[in-house]
Amino acid sequence: MSEAASRRTIAALALVGAAIAGYLTVTWAADVAPVCTTGGCGKVQSSEYAELVGIPVAGLGLVAYLAIFATALRPGPGPAAVGAALALAGVAFSAYLFVIQAFVIEAFCLWCLLSDAVMVLLVVAAVLRLRATNADASPA
């Protein structure tokens, strides 16, 4: 995949992720349970793991997706590396939250699972971009 193609893919995926995280942030702010077919969205959203020091995790996700989108707007190894770092961190934190949903909260949030899937796809696209952007150029 060329860098241009991977950037377009990353931008599209990041917007999808931002839409999901944005919806969860809005429902969190409005204190209502999200529309949910898995039955566990309200339980997950209202759990103690839905916030980090008072900031909604969904809001952090929204910021992360928008930041990844921003890195897709500029070519080069620097933005590619930052985008990959954000996506990798996002997928690691998503994996942690998946474990929390499965074994601590014992409920799954559909929107969180969709966001997880988007983040995994973003990692793949970000790694492909990193390889395509003359990755042997040193940051120094």
Binding site: A30, D31, C41, S46, E48, L52, A81, A85, A137
Partner: protein, 267 residues
């Protein structure tokens, strides 16, 4: 004596500096580059910080145990004052002849339900229930975990003494972390000690297991499913004795239901 530079060639010209060997193959085929290392390092640091803060934040969750040294539940006087003089009958509170009926589907462990119980319910009681324009019926749900079932059975037992709404309000005020075993026998004894007419032993016995009460919880769940309700709190509203409609609330404060109630009362 001036030292001669080894890189200075005859005629004063500077010899070209030899290029360092390439770090990897040109064209991006070398994967483990400095940029990749930077990305991985940043990712590991970010993820570690996020997970650490999340774990520490969860550990710091304060206990919500609410039994006072006197053996009652915090806020018992407020609840008594709120509900004093309002008729209760099993699952219902309010005048049986009230023009409107509101069904509340709730799980005792649901934090949003707790919020509704604390913010909206008292206001609706003051504005509509006390003057006989609205009655509210509880529909117990128990999908979050074991404490949901214990709490639901206890409030249904309190309903046998027409004190369901006292027990419900007090348990919501005492709500603890999900599935932490917070619906203890001591808490149920404290609920009973806070409300005239309730028997602590009966609440504890019901909470520990009662097939008939479980059947009633099952009926509520079936009613919820039949109306497409899969989250709590959820509400149905309509004329008493008539067809009730699902109501989507935009807020867990009284304003979330006020517009719907006022619209029906104006008809």
């Amino acid at each position: 004596m001036a030292r001669r530079s080894p890189t200075r060639a005859r005629g004063g010209k500077v010899a070209p500096t030899p290029k360092p060997p390439p770090v990897g193959k040109k064209g991006g085929s070398s994967f483990f580059t400095s940029w990749t290392a930077l990305a991985v390092g940043l990712a590991v640091a970010l993820a570690a910080i996020l997970i650490l803060v999340s774990v520490l934040g969860a550990d710091d969750e304060p206990s919500t145990a609410a039994v006072t040294p006197a053996g009652t539940v915090d806020g018992a006087e407020e609840v008594e004052e709120l509900l004093a003089g309002i008729p209760q009958d099993g699952l219902a509170i309010g005048d049986p002849e009230a023009p409107l009926t509101l069904l509340e589907f709730a799980d005792l462990q649901c934090p949003f339900c707790r919020q509704w119980a604390g913010d909206a319910f008292p206001a609706l009681v003051d504005e509509y229930v006390r003057d006989g324009r609205l009655r509210i019926e509880f529909r117990p749900m128990a999908f979050i975990g074991e404490d949901s079932g214990r709490g639901a059975r206890a409030v249904l037992e309190a309903g046998e003494e027409d004190r369901l709404w006292h027990a419900l309000e007090l348990l919501f005020r005492a709500q603890g972390p999900e599935n932490s075993g917070w619906v203890t026998d001591d808490l149920l004894e404290a609920v009973a000690a806070s409300v005239d007419g309730l028997d602590g032993e009966a609440l504890v016995s019901a909470a520990s297991g009662d097939d008939e009460l479980d059947d009633r919880i099952g009926e509520s769940t079936a009613e919820a499913n039949a109306n497409g309700i899969n989250s709590t709190p959820s509400f149905m509203l309509g004329p008493t004795g008539g067809e009730l409609q699902r109501v989507e609330v935009t807020s867990l404060g009284p304003e979330g239901l006020r517009e719907h109630i006022d619209a029906l009362l104006r008809r």
